[in-house]
């Protein structure tokens, strides 16, 4: 019986689960390294790095285009990302959107 339990537990654990959307905040420095974060530790770190890197590239390219931005937000249908420039780095807020979210527009930070 114990063997069967172990077997099934292992089988079900190995099944791929759908990736949850990240919720919380991430602070990245000017090199894209994560300084602090409040996103669930289950969420893959490499995806958080990706988010940080892409957000920093948006700020950097805006500076290169002579329009330095203080804040950037990316709105997907299921997730809103709002990032504020922080001395070369950024603090990034991640808001998953549910179907019945009270408001899809977040107040400016």
């Amino acid at each position: 019986m114990g063997f069967l339990k172990q077997f099934f537990r292992r089988f079900f654990r190995s099944r791929a689960a759908i990736q949850q959307l990240p919720a919380g905040s991430v602070t990245v420095d000017r090199d894209g390294r994560i300084v602090t974060y409040t996103v669930s530790s289950i969420y893959p770190k490499e995806l958080l790095y990706d988010i940080g890197r892409e957000v920093l590239s948006l700020f950097r390219e805006a500076r290169e285009a002579q329009v330095p931005l203080a804040e950037v937000s990316i709105h997907f249908t299921s997730l809103h990302i709002t990032a504020r420039e922080l001395r070369g780095g950024a603090i990034i807020f991640l808001f998953p959107q549910a179907a019945f979210s009270p408001s899809t527009i977040r107040p400016r930070l």
């Binding site: 002579q66 709105h75 997907f76 299921s78």
Partner: protein, 356 residues
């Protein structure tokens, strides 16, 4: 004899597939049902055979339902899709709808309301897939107006095309008024008839509505059709110049009306010139808009956040919003003191009206 529709059911649970097979056999249209246990197999089948409907689970090993649906949406845009999942989290419902699925049902609800579920499937399969105004497929707006007038009905037709809304007042089969985006009467009617697609609904009649249109509806429709033909046929150099001039005036008026600083329409690299209104053309800014959309899309696909709506940014001098429509990036600049909340709707309106 009419060909039987085909339904593809995708789920990693063999018992569930059997249950679906038995259940769908009771559909009145007697569709052909195929079942598969993996996303890869489902995509392979969709490539080789025409299906009308895909019923898809979300939680599956290797390739999950959201991944399958995002591929299906790109490769088979005409395929109807239903998500049938055990995941009760609202987040998944919203992500599935964001991917453009037609219906999201929980497996528990489906078992409890099986008849309603079957009715939904039957109705989905029965819908025609041709373009046109939603509600009456493959009919143009002209056809819909003629139908309302011929049946001598009294109603208000509310027509929506993206963020643009219009209303047509019909009283006893006569068109008495039209209104859209600041225009009223015949001018509004001609503008509405230029819309190629959208949705419409019938609202209760408003008999006390002031009459601004006195011409018979058939005369108006004829004039409108002639105007559309003339616009399509006008190739003389003089008229091209005049049309371009009129367009510029129209776009500047739009900018002023909505209160935007500037609009930049940025086509994909190497596919035309950047068009700027209200500001000096700036290649670096256009490049940033293009890159912002690319970056956001790449990130969205990586983290499975659904389709991109828009990218926004601001500093002390201005607010900017980047929207993408038909592969053209629209960068819209707004003054810093404009309220943030209506900016998206206002920007969408600007973009929708840009080339109309």
């Amino acid at each position: 004899m009419e060909a039987r529709h085909k339904i593809l059911v995708l789920d990693d649970d063999a018992d569930w597939l059997n249950l679906c097979n038995e259940m769908f056999a009771h559909l009145p249209s007697k569709p052909e049902i195929r079942t598969v246990a993996s996303g890869a197999r489902a995509l392979a089948l969709l490539e080789t055979e025409p299906f009308r409907l895909l019923v898809c689970d979300l939680k599956m090993p290797r390739m999950d339902g959201l991944q399958v649906l995002s591929i299906v949406r790109r490769r088979f845009p005409e395929l109807r899709t239903i998500v049938l999942s055990g995941l009760e989290d609202e987040e998944f419902r919203s992500r599935a709808y964001a991917l453009g699925v037609d219906l999201f049902w929980l497996k528990t609800d489906m078992q409890a309301n099986s008849q309603m579920f079957l009715d939904c499937i039957e109705s989905l399969m029965g819908r025609d897939m041709e373009g046109g105004f939603r509600g009456i497929q493959s009919k143009s707006l002209m056809d819909i107006i003629q139908m309302e007038c011929l049946s001598r009905s009294s109603t208000v037709l509310r027509i929506t095309r993206g963020p643009l809304v219009a209303k047509l007042w019909i009283q006893n089969g006569e068109l008495i008024d039209a209104e859209t985006e600041g225009a009223r009467g015949e001018a509004a009617f001609y503008r509405i008839l230029g819309w190629k697609s959208g949705t419409f609904e019938n609202l209760p009649a408003e008999p006390e509505r002031e009459r601004t249109i006195t011409k018979p509806v058939n005369a108006l429709l004829l004039e409108s059709a002639q105007a559309i033909d003339e616009t399509a046929d006008s190739v003389e150099p003089g008229s091209v110049e005049q049309t371009a001039h009129r367009k510029t005036i129209w776009k500047l008026a739009l900018l002023t009306r909505e209160g935007a600083d500037f609009v930049m329409a940025v086509p994909p690299e190497g596919q035309g010139e950047v068009e700027t209104m209200g500001a000096q053309p700036s290649e670096p800014l256009a490049k940033w808009a293009r890159r912002a959309v690319e970056t956001a899309r790449r990130l969205g696909e990586r983290i499975e956040a659904g389709p991109l709506s828009h990218v926004a940014g601001h500093n002390l001098e201005r607010q900017m919003l980047v929207l993408n429509r038909d592969n053209v990036c629209f960068l819209i600049g707004w003054p810093p003191n404009v309220a943030t909340s209506p900016l998206l709707e206002k920007s969408k309106k600007l973009v929708s009206s840009w080339d109309s």
